[in-house]
Symmetry: C2
Subunit: 289 residues, 2 copies
């Protein structure tokens, strides 16, 4: 079975790498903070303290890290993956990152005979744990098919969306929908409260009709209960929206809803809510009262 | 069985009154345009050309008309319902209308011993046809319970949301969620197209996760197909958003997402798209290209 190098063992990466191990793949892990990889090491993963070394030993390299700048450094830096991975190996960035960076990595990899795919996911920590992620892939079809058995260990809805960058573009579509929908959900819940309604009862009337959405069913109840624990972090959502805004700008597309959402979340971040879940947007409205 | 006066036999009102007739209620109908009531007359409804006369003969009066100004005139005008309905009768406004007007009608009715409920619906023409509407009710509990057998002939999810006006407030919550979500759906679909993705394939990746919503599943495919036929008219959505904005302003609540949606739909109306379905918002983004 292919040896898989896995970089980035945060909450999601840890679950994802765990599925690969359990399926019998030798897995080599790297993470900035080693303690976050201990669970995987206990399951039989091998620790590697240098990315270049990890790259040399792997048939397939998967990354699940933080920001585009991390992705860029890990792939394109002097000691990075593209400089050290074997010819014929596969590299899969599952971080939500920039579509244009994905294309850049694809080109650099191709020049070295390395197969590159961008494959961001949705489904959150629960989807990762249950191996039920939606995986949006950009790259060459032959490469997509070659790694399909591996992607299938982590997700259930796996779609090749187009050439390099298309996976990231698709993830941006996902985040763009969520951005404006969060505003609608929060404004409605704040309106309900201000009007003296029982917000839970309002949800009973509106959740299953044309206003219905995942966010309304899953996040509105948390807002009402004052539960702002992170499912999805404000700081990560801001990162994603910035990528989407940059990308829309590059394409000459105006996205006023996305801009509004980004500005509201920036305000939340300034107020110290970066480590909360995205449903904390509700506080911005509630605090008007 | 109670005689029901039904005012407003448009697409939805016609279906709703039809269910009452089929259940065996004597139904008296009034509509500005008589031709739109012909179906019901053929089913046995009685035509009445004056609202005052209709009111005098009815145990229960239901209205499903257009704008708050119509509601105000029909209920509070000199020849209107409140002046002519019998003491002890029930009046139910199912139009999406202003919460403060609902309270005003309730007070005026109460002074005459008439039971008033506001009971706007969601579910559209299909929900009306299939008697599967969500009905959001404001008023007194005893009145709600008294007319429950009648409301049950038209809907399946029937909730008393609070005192007079609470039904309208709840409907505003519904429209507020939809307003911003429509922006997100349109921006994502426009982004997908601009990025050279296959929008249908994008939906396959994002529809069942955290971006999922009724609008994404039902309206995005119509946008992609260039189908802008009305399910829900732009002109009616603009009316609803105006009511919600006025109501939010009265309560001192800022709703920037709703304001943005209203301004985008106003632009559409200026461009002549008032008679299209709300999914036509996509055109505003698409036309940027």
């Amino acid at each position: 079975m292919e040896t898989i190098g896995f970089i980035g063992t945060g909450v999601m990466g840890r679950s994802m790498a765990g599925h690969l191990l359990k399926a019998g793949h030798p897995v080599i892990v790297y993470n900035r903070t080693r303690s976050k990889a201990e669970d995987l090491l206990a399951l039989g993963a091998k620790w590697e303290k240098r990315i270049s070394q990890l790259a040399r030993q792997s048939d397939v390299i998967i990354t699940m890290v933080g920001y585009p700048k991390d992705v860029e450094e890990i792939y394109l830096g002097e000691n990075g993956i593209v400089n050290h991975a074997r010819e014929g190996s596969y590299i899969i960035d599952m971080t939500t990152s920039s579509p244009s960076l994905a294309k850049k990595i694809y080109e650099a990899a191709k020049a070295k005979g390395i197969h590159s795919l961008d494959a961001p996911v949705s489904g959150g920590d629960i989807g990762a744990r249950e191996a039920r992620l939606s995986i949006m892939v950009g790259g060459d079809r032959a490469d997509f098919e070659a790694v399909m058995p591996i992607l299938s260990l982590m997700g259930t809805n796996i779609v090749l969306q187009g050439a390099a960058g298309a996976g990231q573009h698709t993830k941006m579509c996902n985040q763009i929908v969520i951005a404006s929908n969060m505003i609608g959900v929060c404004e409605a819940m704040a309106y309900a409260k201000k009007a003296g309604l029982n917000p839970e009862q309002v949800l009973q009337s509106i959740s299953s009709g044309a206003a219905g959405s995942w966010s309304l069913s899953n996040l509105a109840p948390r807002m009402i209960a004052g539960n702002f624990e992170p499912g999805f972090y404000v700081k990560h959502f801001i990162k994603d929206m910035q990528i989407a805004l940059d990308s829309a700008k590059e394409m000459g597309l105006l996205t006023p809803g996305l801009e509004l959402a980004k500005s509201l979340y920036d305000t939340l971040a300034e107020q110290g809510y970066e480590e909360c879940g995205t449903q904390v947007l509700y506080k911005l409205y509630e605090s008007q009262g």
